[in-house]
């Protein structure tokens, strides 16, 4: 499982939304949560793709209304829009309109764009996405709009940014992503006591100079404030031919009325892409850590 899908194209996944975009477009802004939010991709120079979504309670489910509201806001805030037109929904392929009410638009100005608004009758998601291009709008980029998926059928969510991709159950909601150079961290919570974290550490050779992989489980337990709760049992194994360490700590009642949930995790080093990957959970389902780790592509 990986974020790459086709030569010259990558698959981006964020908060349950998936979209295929040209290689080089990367996440540059995001906000909100699974219920509603937005994200933006840029090509290193200018913004190229924007998407807003809302699940559950929405002001309207009619795509045409979403477009009208967006057009009014665009006209109010940007004086350079010369032409805004609504196109027939048929300008997008049928496969991406299935079970959806869809409306398509385009505008021209300092930046030109193709966009689409939709309401998904299956998952109840209302969304608006647009692809920006140089003038005139590049029709070939319609495939980006056509590739948008707002739900999956397997109860999982794809998280795929910065050449890092994994699947996690959709019952786990992202708390706050930490996307720093050299370290991507996705802490996700299902309930108060149930936390799953997936991390990727870049430039592993530098991190491993400070602490060998064997010491990472202890460091992670310290970070989770669990080091003093009891011994962390760890054992070495091979994961996809790479050095890996699994670690586990039983639940503990020390110092608290409510028990600390058990800790379960694994960390491995892939020398081919010079990264360390860590997946660990507190109070998560049996084998979930391993299942999530299996979806991470490395090397």
């Amino acid at each position: 499982m990986g974020g790459n899908s086709d030569a010259g194209r990558i698959r981006v996944g964020w908060q349950g939304i998936e979209v295929e975009v040209p290689k080089g477009w990367e996440l540059s802004a995001y906000g909100g949560a699974a219920e509603n939010g937005h994200f933006e991709l840029d090509d290193g120079i200018r913004p190229r793709f924007r998407l807003w979504w809302q699940r559950g309670r929405h002001r309207t489910t009619a795509p045409q209304e979403s477009i009208d509201r967006y057009r009014r806001s665009l006209m109010k805030h940007r004086g350079d829009i010369s032409k805004f037109e609504v196109l027939p929904a048929e300008s997008l392929p049928f496969r991406c309109r299935k079970d959806k009410d869809t409306a398509v638009y385009r505008y021209e100005g300092a930046a030109a764009a193709y966009g689409a608004a939709w309401y998904c009758r299956t998952c109840g998601c209302v969304g608006l996405a647009e692809v920006r291009s140089d003038r005139p709008p590049d029709k070939t980029l319609r495939w980006v709009l056509a590739s948008i998926a707002d739900h999956r059928d397997d109860g999982q969510r794809l998280w795929a940014v910065y050449d890092f991709a994994f699947l996690a159950p959709d019952t786990y909601n992202l708390e706050r992503a930490e996307l720093m150079p050299g370290r991507l961290s996705f802490p996700m919570r299902r309930s108060r006591q149930c936390l799953l974290t997936v991390e990727r550490w870049g430039v592993a050779r530098e991190w491993l100079k400070k602490s060998a992989l064997e010491g990472w489980p202890g460091e992670l337990a310290k970070r989770l404030k669990r080091a003093e709760l009891g011994p962390v049992r760890q054992d070495r194994f091979s994961f996809r031919g790479h050095e890996a360490w699994g670690f586990r700590q039983a639940d503990s009642r020390r110092g608290r009325w409510r028990p600390w949930p058990p800790l379960d995790g694994m960390v491995w080093h892939c020398p081919d892409d010079d990264k360390v990957y860590a997946v660990f959970g507190q109070g998560t389902e049996e084998e979930l850590v391993r299942q999530v780790a299996e979806t991470i592509g490395c090397g």
Binding site: G24, S28, G44, Y162, P181, G182, V203, E206, D273, D274
Partner: protein, 115 residues
């Protein structure tokens, strides 16, 4: 920004160490009041910064021709980072060097004319 060319400050001493790192020595410019305080408290006139391995490699790439975008591409391929990760890291690093006046950014006339 991405098309500008970072140039090491020639008034700064860039010393290659055997460890592969670069030791940067530069003279402080404290201003009149600062100079007095420095004299009273005997603060050293020269300041030194020891760049780490990655920082040293980036500085070695600054040959007066490579642009910021080239440095980002270099870091992304050398450290196997995504373009965005490399971009954030390099821009932050250049900002740190620029704040200490260890480097400057050369902007070509063509770029100045662009809107």
């Amino acid at each position: 920004m991405l098309e500008s060319v970072p140039q090491p400050n020639p008034a700064v001493r860039w010393e290659d160490l055997d460890t592969g790192r670069i030791l940067v020595s530069y003279r402080r410019s404290p201003g009149r009041l600062g100079a007095m305080i420095y004299r009273v408290f005997a603060v050293a006139e020269w300041s030194q910064v020891l760049l780490d391995d990655i920082g040293s490699q980036v500085v070695r790439q600054m040959d007066g021709r490579r642009t910021v975008a080239d440095l980002i591409a270099f870091v992304a391929s050398d450290l196997k980072l995504s373009r965005k990760e490399a971009e954030v890291a390099v821009l932050k690093y250049l900002a740190m060097l620029g704040k200490r006046r260890l480097i400057g950014l050369e902007v070509s006339r063509d770029m100045e004319r662009q809107p």
